[in-house]
């Protein structure tokens, strides 16, 4: 009888200790969660780290690593975020948790603009993904392509998620709005100036046209007068210098305009897009 009581007391004692230690840890987790919800990310990281430190049985290991990573991500400390997401992957308990955390690593890589790494991770994740997971992977592929400034590929992957996806249309719009760098260069090869006109830089286009016309005239004049050396010197040093400059300018302006268009769209996505963002 006494032996039975002692056994039960022992079991209950162990159980109650465990129970209350867990209570304390769950209180600490709630405290950290509150800080996280209030946007106090520095303090949230501190409290999640405290939770980790005292959680000797690693009950909250995944949650704390994941939330620390999210806090770092919100605080734009992407390297630390990826470090803690990687720890969370190692401590994940289910395949869903593992998948979700991998996706977070990809999303952080997109924000960090390490898009090559994001593509590599997406390809790895794709190999073992289910149908619904593949849809999500394509969604993030689309985002990665947008950040890699490849809008046609982005539109293609968004169309795999949903044929009428809002982001597919947006990516297509950007693709259509962007200037063709090749076209700008080719028309500048044919006639100096129009490459700049094409991107709206009229003054620069006129200057290119004027300078190349002047030096072209002097070169031709020298050829007509049979001053071969003059023709060569003016033609090479002045005419060709402005002719090449005109082509380079046309290319530069087209690239600059394209960056401007891409950045404007990314700003729009950041401020106005209601769907899930990296």
């Amino acid at each position: 009888m006494i032996k039975n009581i002692l056994n039960i007391v022992f079991i209950l004692s162990a159980f109650s200790n465990l129970l209350f230690a867990q209570n304390e840890l769950s209180r600490q987790r709630d405290f950290a969660n509150n800080l996280f919800e209030e946007g106090l990310f520095f303090d949230a990281v501190t409290e999640y780290k405290r939770l980790q430190y005292f959680d000797k049985n690693k009950i909250y290991e995944y949650d704390s690593n994941y939330k620390i990573a999210l806090s770092y991500k919100r605080g734009t400390k992407f390297d630390e975020a990826i470090n803690y997401f990687s720890k969370a992957v190692l401590s994940s308990r289910t395949d869903e948790e593992k998948f979700e955390t991998h996706v977070q690593i990809i999303r952080t890589n997109i924000l960090r603009k390490t898009t090559d790494r994001a593509f590599q991770l997406l390809n790895e994740l794709d190999k073992s993904a289910s149908y619904t997971q593949k849809k999500e992977i394509n969604y993030w592929r689309g985002w990665t392509y947008m950040f890699a400034d490849k809008w046609d590929s982005a539109a293609f992957y968004f169309s795999l998620v949903d044929y009428d996806h809002e982001l597919k249309n947006l990516a297509n719009d950007v693709k259509n709005d962007k200037y063709s760098v090749t076209f700008a260069k080719v028309i500048s090869y044919i006639l100096p100036g129009p490459g700049q006109f094409y991107t709206g830089n009229y003054l620069s286009g006129l200057m290119s046209l004027g300078w190349t016309a002047l030096w072209g005239y002097l070169t031709v004049d020298a050829i007509i007068d049979e001053r071969v050396f003059d023709a060569f010197a003016i033609g090479d040093l002045l005419f060709l210098r402005f002719y090449r400059g005109n082509i380079q300018n046309a290319e530069k302006f087209a690239v600059e305009k394209n960056i401007e268009i891409a950045n404007k769209t990314l700003r729009y996505l950041q401020n106005n897009y209601k769907g899930i963002k990296p």
Binding site: I5, L12, S16, N23, E24, F229, D230, A233, L237
Partner: protein, 300 residues
Amino acid sequence: MLTNKHKSNTALPNLNFIKSAIIIFILLTAITEGQTTDFFTPQNRLNFGNHLFSEKDYLRAIGEFKSYLQTTNNDTIKFKMAFALSEMKRFQEAGDNFKGLFFISSLSEEAKFEFLKTNFLDEDSKTFRDIINNSPFLPEKYLQNINQLKQISLFKEENTLPDSNEISNLFSENEKIELIKFYLRKKNPEYKSQGTAALLSAIIPGLGKIYAGEIGDGITSFLFTGVLSFLAYDNFKANHDFRAWLFTGLAAWFYGGNIYGSAAAAQNYNAGIKFDFQNDLNIYLNSKNYFFPEYEFLDK
């Protein structure tokens, strides 16, 4: 009846047993509830702070240490806090905190050395040496380290040269060999003279640039100035005055610009020599952790 009575007799002790167990459980829970871990006791904050310190999360470690120090006076923790500030490159605050440990502390010598180290790391070599030369509180235990830092500060400053005898005395054989190489590089830098570069370009356009290591630019300058000069001469000969003067102006412009450019090229070359020296020196000193001492008590 007898069976029922017997049954009720056996059920009674069971009931008592359950009652006892419940009472004990309630008592135990009451006790354990009182004994549950408070993560925010000074000792726990200290333990957590030490953990953060070992993880090099210095800012959070400082927060925990500050909290702990509100209840307990502990020089090691004060030292660790100052050390964390120093690691975060908050040298002024670190120095002030180390000063608080100069007297009546078992870590007085270490604190004095670390105070000097913060001045050394603050990239003001001259102030660092002034403090060493004038301070009455130099830590005896770390005199060799201080003298090592003094020599290193002379390496790092632009117009000073360390003492080669001191280098021989203060450093180990391998370190000595490396540092003497740096000493010789600093003593006899392979600088190019700006005056010589300008003069060479005045005699033959582009030669100064070639002397300063910019061979491609030198040849281009030579050809450009030569072609423009010839065009000027050719046009004067053909009585095309306007074009002749235009090319004369351009040739003079390029000639003058080339002389100036050659002096600038020599200046760039010298800046490159200085940069490479400092870069190589920093890589070496970082690999040696600047010969700073290591403290075992920081890991506890």
